[in-house]
């Protein structure tokens, strides 16, 4: 919402009115940290709660995939050729949806879509979370050092950041993945699924840290001149104290937000890479590969496109909604 500068002045005057939230003196009050206040705001936000619950659900499903397989009685690689017609299309309505196969069967191989989605979720979340964690750690370390120390180190890190940003992600990913695979496996060898996952995470990590580094660097530079940082410096604090005690606690909020928005980005990137055939091997269940395979059957078996499509949409949407809500909760001024 836009606010005239004057309005801002007036509001600031109102808000600065002394102990607006000064707690009552008695009853052994324990201070509420800014983090706790953000949590309270988050809890009051219905969008955040719904999307958060959805995310928790997705994560639980992904974690308990083997358990679900056990209960469901069907594995991700099991084929049900006998339930396909002679053109390889699943028998029955809506792509073979039935009590045995909740979301029907894949045309051609006849694998169960539901359990492949469950495992695909696992793959997607694993890749996205791992990549997001690695990029965050890299970005925080490089950004904080560059921002706090400045000088030649800042120049070098900035230069590397620009270099990485200038590299075309898709082309390099396309070129790098097969080359790497060839390097470790022969022309004919079966590539292990774990290796494919690892390569994807590595590619994301190499390209993904720049935005976090930039963000952290900017925040650190802004904080560096703040008086509480100078107070610590004037008391003789060393680099470790400055970075970990004074600076980083103040930039967790934007880092968290960028993390929560990076995860869905990696999910879609993984899907996109799998879609164009780089990345994961055939037998690894993944959203991207499923959608890629399903496109052939868009006319004949739309249900095959529908279920993975809805799943990835719901996942990414929930992540993005939650990320935005988190941003508002951590920085209430940005939403005004």
């Amino acid at each position: 919402m836009s606010m005239s500068p004057v309005e801002g002045v007036a509001l600031a005057e109102v808000e600065s009115g002394g102990d607006a939230d000064a707690p009552k003196e008695e009853k052994g009050f324990v201070g509420r940290s800014p983090g706790q206040l953000a949590w309270l705001r988050l809890r009051g936000d219905r969008t955040a709660m719904v999307s958060g619950a959805l995310l928790v659900f997705f994560v639980l499903v992904a974690l308990s995939a083997p358990l679900i397989e056990l209960l469901y009685g069907i594995g991700p690689s099991d084929q049900f050729q006998h339930k396909l017609d002679r053109f390889g299309m699943p028998l029955g309505y809506a792509g073979g949806v039935s009590g045995d196969h909740f979301f029907g069967l894949e045309p051609g191989l006849g694998r169960d879509i539901f359990i492949r989605l469950v495992y695909g979720l696992r793959t997607s979340l694993l890749i996205a979370f791992a990549a997001a964690v690695i990029t965050a750690v890299l970005g925080i370390a490089l950004g904080a050092l560059a921002g706090y120390l400045g000088g030649w180190l800042d120049a070098v890190i900035n230069w590397v950041t620009d270099l990485v940003l200038a590299m075309p992600f898709l082309i390099i990913a396309l070129a790098l993945t097969p080359t790497l695979t060839l390097r470790f496996y022969g022309e004919r060898d079966a590539v292990s699924p774990a290796f494919g996952v690892g390569v994807l995470i590595a590619v994301f990590a190499i390209f993904g840290w720049t935005s976090t580094a930039r963000l952290v660097r900017g925040q650190v530079i802004a904080l560096r001149e703040r008086e509480f940082v100078e107070a610590a410096k004037a008391s003789g604090a060393g680099l470790g104290h400055m970075l970990f005690r004074q600076l980083l606690p103040n930039i967790w909020a934007p880092i968290l937000v960028s993390f929560s928005l990076a995860v869905p980005q990696f999910i879609t990137s993984e899907a996109a890479l799998s879609f164009i055939g780089v990345g994961l091997t055939e037998e690894t269940p993944s959203f991207g590969r499923m959608i890629y395979q399903s496109l052939v059957y868009l006319q004949t078996d739309p249900a095959f496109v529908f279920f993975p499509g809805v799943a990835i949409f719901a996942l990414v949407f929930a992540f993005n909604l939650f990320g935005d809500a988190l941003r508002d909760a951590l920085d209430p001024k940005s939403s005004r």
């Binding site: 009115g17 102990d19 939230d21």
Partner: protein
């Protein structure tokens, strides 16, 4: 601006004004209440404030942060967001009612009949336009038929009037090329370009150095003598008030607590809050080794104002009237001398005696 225009070229199109009787104050504010709805609750930023300013006179509004002094002035100018703000009471400028008028009506008055000077001259000026263009623009908004050349001449004239040397040359410079004091002069020139009858200055010198502050205060006084405008000077600095004001309104927690001539309020103050302000301000005169007598506690929050007299938790004399200070909001009542009003539960005798015993010999109150 593309609104229908009927006034002759060059003449400001003043709508038919109810004839103002001589001696009537130019600005009259009665029982003004301003409320904001915020996530944390309703903020009663201004709660029943009344005052009047005649042309050629200066009213000083004194208060701390959160006292409602700035909100009051913004309400007069109609600058509050109507979606978040509820304003009741009466504001009459030159005989015209403002409260409840459509935005467009108030906007026409703003800048032409009344203008504002803000604390921070840098944020009041647009960095990408030359100062001259901004002043000329401000003129043309209310004089749409005026040629660019004429507007430029007017702007250069104003720059000269506010004491900017070589105004013709400085017309084409950008705000960053001016020093802080010169920028505030530009802002004043912009505020005065339409010859407003009411000038509201919100902490106009707080961001400036003392020697520059003295220049700006002198300038405002000179311009007032020349333009015969009514001025509202909003400030936290009693020193500034003592220099420029004819009348003083002391605000606390969104209410007026004392109102009178500058002589009355600063020399024979009646409210314990005013006493506190006077005895806590360090001075260049008197005993430098004596301790200042501060007001205890902190200014209140407007969301959670103390019941009764808002000042009672900080008042040394709150207990003298039993529970009245805590239970009952004191009304602004005559305090002896004509025109002197105070909102305090203490009896007139008590106030006179306490002032003489406790306050009169301390700090700058002497």
């Amino acid at each position: 601006m593309d609104r229908p225009e009927s006034a002759p070229s060059g003449e400001p199109d003043r709508p038919a004004v109810p004839e103002q009787r001589a001696g009537d104050p130019y600005l009259r504010v009665s029982d003004l209440r301003v409320r904001f709805d915020t996530a944390d609750g309703v903020v009663r930023a201004v709660d029943g404030v009344s005052f009047a300013v005649e042309r050629g006179r200066t009213l000083g509004i004194v208060g701390e942060s959160g006292s409602g002094k700035s909100v009051t002035s913004l309400a007069v100018l109609g600058l509050h967001d109507p979606k978040r703000t509820t304003i009741t009471g009466e504001i009459s400028v030159g005989g015209r009612q403002l409260v409840g008028q459509p935005d467009e009506e108030v906007r026409r008055l703003r800048g032409r009949d009344m203008a504002m000077i803000f604390q921070d001259p840098l944020s009041a000026l647009h960095p990408y336009y030359t100062v001259g263009r901004q002043i000329a623009e401000a003129y043309r908004v209310h004089h749409p038929r005026v040629s660019r050349r004429e507007a430029r001449r007017r702007a250069v004239d104003m720059l000269g009037r506010v004491g900017i040397p070589q105004p013709g040359r400085r017309f084409d410079q950008y705000p960053h090329e001016f020093s802080g004091g010169m920028r505030q002069r530009v802002v004043i020139a912009m505020a005065l370009v339409n010859d407003p009858d009411l000038l509201i200055a919100d902490e106009p010198t707080t961001a400036l150095d003392v020697t520059v502050q003295a220049q700006i205060l002198d300038l405002l006084a000179d311009l007032q003598a020349e333009f015969h405008s009514a001025i509202i000077m909003i400030t936290h600095d009693l020193g500034v008030v003592s220099q420029v004001a004819d009348e003083v309104l002391v605000m606390y927690g969104g209410r007026a607590v004392e109102h009178g001539s500058v002589e009355q309020v600063l020399r024979r103050p009646q409210h314990p809050y005013t006493w506190g302000l006077l005895s806590s301000v360090p001075s260049l005169h008197g005993d430098a080794d004596a301790d200042l007598v501060p007001i205890r506690g902190n200014p209140p929050s407007l969301i959670n104002l103390p019941a009764g007299c808002a000042f009672h938790p900080r008042c040394r004399y709150a207990d003298r009237n039993g529970d009245r200070s805590r239970a009952q909001v004191p009304e602004l009542r005559p305090a002896g001398a004509p025109g002197h009003l105070v909102a305090c539960h203490l009896s007139a005798d008590d106030r006179t005696r306490l002032y003489a015993e406790d306050i009169a010999h301390v700090g700058v109150a002497r």
